[in-house]
Amino acid sequence: MTTLEKNIKAIKSVLSSQDILVFEFKSEAGKKFAAIYADGIADKQLLGELVVKPLRAVKPDDKLEDVKQLLASPEVKDCDKISDGIKEISDGNAVLFVDGEKDFFIIGLKCPPVRAVAEPPTQITVKGPREGFIEDVKTNLGLIRKRIKSDKLQIKTVKVGERSDTAVALVYIDGVCPDGLPEKIEKEIAANKIDIVPDSSYISQFIAKKPRSLFKRCGTCEKPDIFCAKVCEGRVGIVADGSPIALTVPYMIVEDFQSAEDYYITSYRATTLRILRLLSVIIGVILPALYISAQLFKIQIIPLQLLLKISSSVAGLALSPSVEMFLTLFVLEVLNEASIRMPKYVGLALSVVGALVLGDTAVKAGIISTPAIIIIAFSAICLYTVPNLVETTTTLRWLFLIISGSLGPFGMVLFAAFLICYLATEQDYGVPLMAPFAPLVKNDLYDSMVKANINNLKRRPEVFRSKNKVRLQSDENKR
């Protein structure tokens, strides 16, 4: 058996799957070669152009070094371990064996199927860049490199997943990111041995100090411009292969009230929108609960004229106010879930049946009242002003509803105080979840609920304790 045959057998004994292809070819002078690669994720055309064609000129007595000189691929690595070769084949690269040689080459031919860079559906902006991350880590890192050309930009890759071997890249800027933070995160990620990491949300749970918390512990983002801005503030960005959602750590709740567009419009408008989002979330979470509380426990909260209208609507209803609100909210959640999962063409019919027929008929049948539908619909709209927090806020809405139905307005206030008390002490990687409000960090307030003019944002957020504190140096005379 020749060396070439031995090497092929060694690989095939481990990678026995049918999609692992072996392409054997000869040079014009008769020297034998074999390229092994995974079908579907390696670029066959490049293999032909950059490897097979140039190697036709190899003579039988040429050494390995001479062969390497002829290869036209820019990504060629020497290798002597079959186990490394197997890893590279699984990753999408090709292994090239030369007859008579024990050592071999790894040729970078990775070309997994990816979609084109497009505007992310969850972070649409009217003004500002429209590029979004995709599922390919290399493309995503390219989008980041395109924006941060600094020599201080560091990208550390960690492999996670015993079977998936998913590449997870930690992106940070040396001197801006707090010392030791990337290492801490890397350690947290590496400490988890799991079969497969299909999405970055797995990573967010690995690195969270309290993964069972109701509240998010990592910032998420689909836009490279926002990602880069966050990295430049001192955060560590995490990009996982196979996921279009990048993570940023440390995270503060206030981040989710800031949208991409806030930085591209006037500071007055941005501030107004941020306050509007905060109010919307508060209203969205407590309005159904407050309505029940008012009806059941403290009717004085409702203005008299409105009270008369409500009383005429609820007169004759078979259900109690809390059961009615529960039912309405339940229907909304079902409609919401179904409309996401249903095929698009059925979705339209569903909205007609769900929103119009079901809602209208339920009111006419005296099962639920019009105010309940209005309140739940408004609450749902309010919560979607901050889409990144919807998972948390919808749960909180249920909790407030249960509490207000049983304990009334005092229960709601008590629960709100509990949430404040809980959130006030929570922190991950030394950054409080409620910063810059609790603890109050005066300078960071300029980009919190308020969005100050760019000229006022001269320093990086203090809460991250960056060594390099200045982010904007401008000629004072111009101001």
């Binding site: 105080a417 008390c421 609790a438 109050l440």
Partner: protein, 354 residues
């Protein structure tokens, strides 16, 4: 450091005011009549001096109050004194809790609810009291703006209805009654003790004593303003106005059109009140932890709150008797713990200056 000076100032400014917005005005006006402002002023004057003394003491030492006691009298005595402080904080919180239960029943419910609607407060208290100074400080960071917003709202809604001429002529009440009001009204306010407990847990910088004292003085001024507005609205019937804060904005013209928006403001202010109520329990838990050396604060908090639950259930419907007893006798303990002990702290071994 676990807490900072700004947070202490917020605690002084917000919690001092919310603590005095419920039955305090009624109690005070019952004794001192229209001159109740002077009773309050006298109380505040004494406490401001004590707070300044404690704040200034903080500039002379980096030790906590426990360490001061330990270095002067030894560990055993320090533990005994902390045990006494724990008892004082618990006793001092009993009337406010019972008072608060009545307030909750009055402003959160149209009909008189059962005691059980108030009991969940203790779930919150168990959780919050098991947290340390860091939580106290950060909660204050959130509570202060809430308080400021609500107080401004209440004042704006009330101010137009107040006729300040009702407060005239002044000094018609006998001086003994004015001071009687001071003594009887101040038995449950323990602000100087808060500062004593925070001592050594914050980094003192030059001028911080003045900041803390001024924030307390501002709170005192806000309470006096509130008392003046209340008397300006209700005049001689002020002594019958229970839970004053819920009564001042009642006649705001927009209420007819918008409903009881003042109640919504009070609900937000209630969050601040809850943190004020819990602060004393938190400090009681800290004191017990120091006294016993037992570090699991959750268990201590559970035990302390269990005592409060038993007392709240037992003393339900007996508020007047409890209040009368405390007003008659507890002022001695208050004087001892909030004035004499803090001033005596100056005599303790302070060690090296900052």
């Amino acid at each position: 450091m676990k807490i900072n000076v700004r947070q202490i100032c917020f605690i002084m400014a917000a919690y001092t005011v919310v603590a005095r917005l419920l039955l305090f005005p009624m109690e005070l006006s019952n004794i001192s009549g229209r001159d109740y402002l002077f009773s309050a002023l006298a109380g505040f004057a004494v406490q401001t001096v004590v707070i300044w003394a404690v704040a200034y003491l903080c500039s002379r030492t980096q030790k906590t109050f426990f360490q001061l006691l330990e270095d002067t009298f030894g560990n055993i005595v320090a533990r005994i004194i902390y045990g006494l402080f724990a008892l004082f904080f618990m006793a001092g919180t009993l009337v406010p809790i019972l008072e608060h239960k009545l307030y909750v029943h009055a402003i959160f419910y149209d009909t008189l609810p059962s005691l059980t609607v108030f009991l969940p407060f203790f779930f919150f208290a168990v959780f919050a009291a098991s947290k340390g100074f860091k939580n106290i400080g950060r909660s204050a960071d959130i509570c202060f703006p809430l308080f400021a917003l609500c107080f401004v709202f209440i004042m704006v809604m009330s101010f137009g209805e107040a006729k300040f001429a009702e407060l005239l002529p002044v000094f018609k009440t006998p001086v003994t009654k004015i001071f009687g009001g001071t003594v009887a009204g101040a038995y449950r306010f323990v602000e100087p003790c808060w500062l004593l407990m925070f001592m050594g847990h914050f980094e003192y910088k030059k001028g911080d004593a003045a900041k803390i004292t001024v924030s307390y003085a501002v709170a005192a001024a806000l309470v006096l303003l509130f008392l003046a507005v209340l008397y300006g609205i209700y005049g001689s019937i002020t002594p019958s106005r229970q839970f004053a804060v819920s009564k001042t904005a009642l006649y705001f013209p927009a209420i007819d059109m918008l409903g009881r928006i003042d109640l919504l403001v009070l609900y937000v202010m209630e969050i601040v009140m809850l943190f004020w109520l819990v602060l004393n329990i938190q400090l009681a838990v800290q004191c017990i932890s120091e006294c016993t050396g037992y570090k699991d604060k959750f268990i201590i908090s559970l035990a302390v709150n269990a005592v409060f639950i038993v007392l709240t259930v037992t003393l339900d419907h007996k508020f007047s008797a409890v209040q009368g007893f405390f007003a008659s006798w507890f002022w001695i303990a208050t004087l001892l713990f909030t004035v004499i002990f803090p001033l005596c702290a100056w005599a303790l071994k302070k060690g090296a200056k900052r």
